[in-house]
């Protein structure tokens, strides 16, 4: 679990079954285990009205465990980007009573929440649980480019190449942490990159 730092930094909880007619789960990697852990607390028939979207990643683990929950629908997109059009469609057509559960890496939770926010869903109504890598999505405040899967502090912007301090300041709208040039005042200073978000 990520340590609590500043107020804009998201705080994640533990998934728990919510009252509702339809349940949409979006998870990646170890996030599948958050769903199976929650299943033990769910009332009978809970997954009859549930869609689970799971991005398994290269290793393809945990698929059988999710199948065993017998959700109404199990969808296995190869990447988050490939999921977005379908997710937008699902949320556009959603009715009152849909509950959303996000589990897995911060990048997955943040990006799925971003799409849901754009569909007008309040962020406090979504259940989240962080599992797996602490890697961050980072927006370079200078060039505005997003760098995915940042694990070091500082980190290089993959667009403009500036060396950035990865702040804890987080934007739900951008689904990203803020990166600010760490040696702006003296470019000859080159603090070493260390693994900070494994």
């Amino acid at each position: 679990m990520a340590a609590k730092t500043i107020i804009s930094r998201p705080i994640y909880g533990t998934l728990s079954p919510q009252p509702g007619k339809h349940h949409l789960f979006i998870a990646d990697a170890e996030g599948a285990l958050a769903i199976t852990d929650m299943a033990g607390k769910a009332p009978p028939g809970f997954f009859d009205g549930a869609e689970i979207v799971f991005i398994p990643g290269r290793e393809g683990k945990h698929i059988a465990a999710l199948e065993a929950l017998k959700p109404a629908q199990l969808h296995l997109p190869p990447s988050f980007a490939s999921l977005v059009p379908r997710l937008r469609q699902t949320l556009t057509n959603a009715h009152m009573g849909l509950r959303i559960y996000l589990a897995g890496t911060e990048g997955l939770i943040g990006q799925a929440m971003q799409v849901a926010l754009e569909a007008g869903i309040d962020h406090t109504s979504m259940q989240t649980e962080h599992r797996g890598s602490l890697a961050r999505r980072m927006q370079c405040v200078h060039c505005k480019g997003i760098t995915e899967n940042v694990t070091t502090q500082p980190a290089l912007c993959s667009h403009c190449g500036l060396l950035l301090l990865v702040r804890d300041h987080y934007s739900r709208r951008l689904a990203a942490f803020q990166g600010v040039c760490i040696n702006a005042e003296d470019r000859s200073e080159n603090p070493p990159m260390e693994e900070a978000f494994p």
């Binding site: 500043i6 107020i7 804009s8 930094r9 927006q139 405040v141 200078h142 505005k144 500036l162 702040r167 804890d168 300041h169 934007s171 739900r172 709208r173 951008l174 803020q178 600010v180 040039c181 702006a184 005042e185 003296d186 470019r187």
Partner: protein, 346 residues
Amino acid sequence: MGITFRKETFRDDYTFRNSPDHIRRFPFPFNEDSYMYAVNIEPHVVGPKGSVLENLIDVDEHYVAEMQDRALVLAEDPLRCQSLPHMTLAGWDLLELLMEQQALGYPEHFTLERNGDRWRWINRPLGINDTFTFGDTSTLPYGPMEYITRQSQGDFCILDQRDGNLWMDAGMVTTQADWSLDFDIGMNFFEWHAPVPLAHEKGIFTRALKFLTNIQQGKPARRLNWTMTINPRLDTSPENYHKWGPDRATVTPENVGDKVHLRVELQSFWRLPRSNGIVFPIRCYLIKMDELVTQPKWARRLHRVIRDLPEELATYKGLTRYRPTLVEWLSKLDDGSPTSPGFGPD
């Protein structure tokens, strides 16, 4: 008689200066010889003639040059002005407020004529004479917020009020002290203040939010905030930090008086009538050390404040690199004698 607007720059050759009467009216932010955060909010009422509070929306000798600098910033980076889709009505509220206040305070420079929804706005310093339909965005060259804030000094944040919180949902931010509208837009009051050290623990933001969400129409409030800037640069955005950051390493004992500027924000808070939003103008005043120390009380007091500032605040305000040089320079102007109470010069 009207204001004589200076021809000056806030970049490149940095010709910005304050005239002697603008030095005297500078909103010096320290009323005692030390500084710590406080919820220093007070009613925004008209103050003494000749002060920056003579009018509730202040227009000064830097008006034309500041508007030219804003246009340059927006041309380079249009993301400095953003408004989420539900904020257009609040933009019209702001347009009305700023036109009314500027025309009221400076009738020789601004005129607002209203005939039902048909409005005519004359801005003589900028050579603007436009007729438009209030509420109809297609009759203006920009959205209402952008249109009027291209003609008003200071940054403007428009906050939507819902769920007992304030949300930064629109803004024109080109003269900011190192925060990004593009990053913070859509955040609530606590989230966009998240990086500020010490103040959360002191409960400052909880109390401030409670006060702000209760602001009533026609009863604006204000507070002062401050930082320091090297060179009279308005655009100290994080977006351009890699461009202006190196300036902080250029301060020497010889150039302190010319390069180091006290940067004061007069922040005011107004309830908007139609949208029920809050507009938060952040009016920036700059003064270089050479100008500031022409007032001996300010020189003595600033020395003590900067010398004794807690390290976390100095770091947050970006003073670390040049603070020793500045304190040494100011110490020569501090004979240790007491300072009189209050903000103003002796």
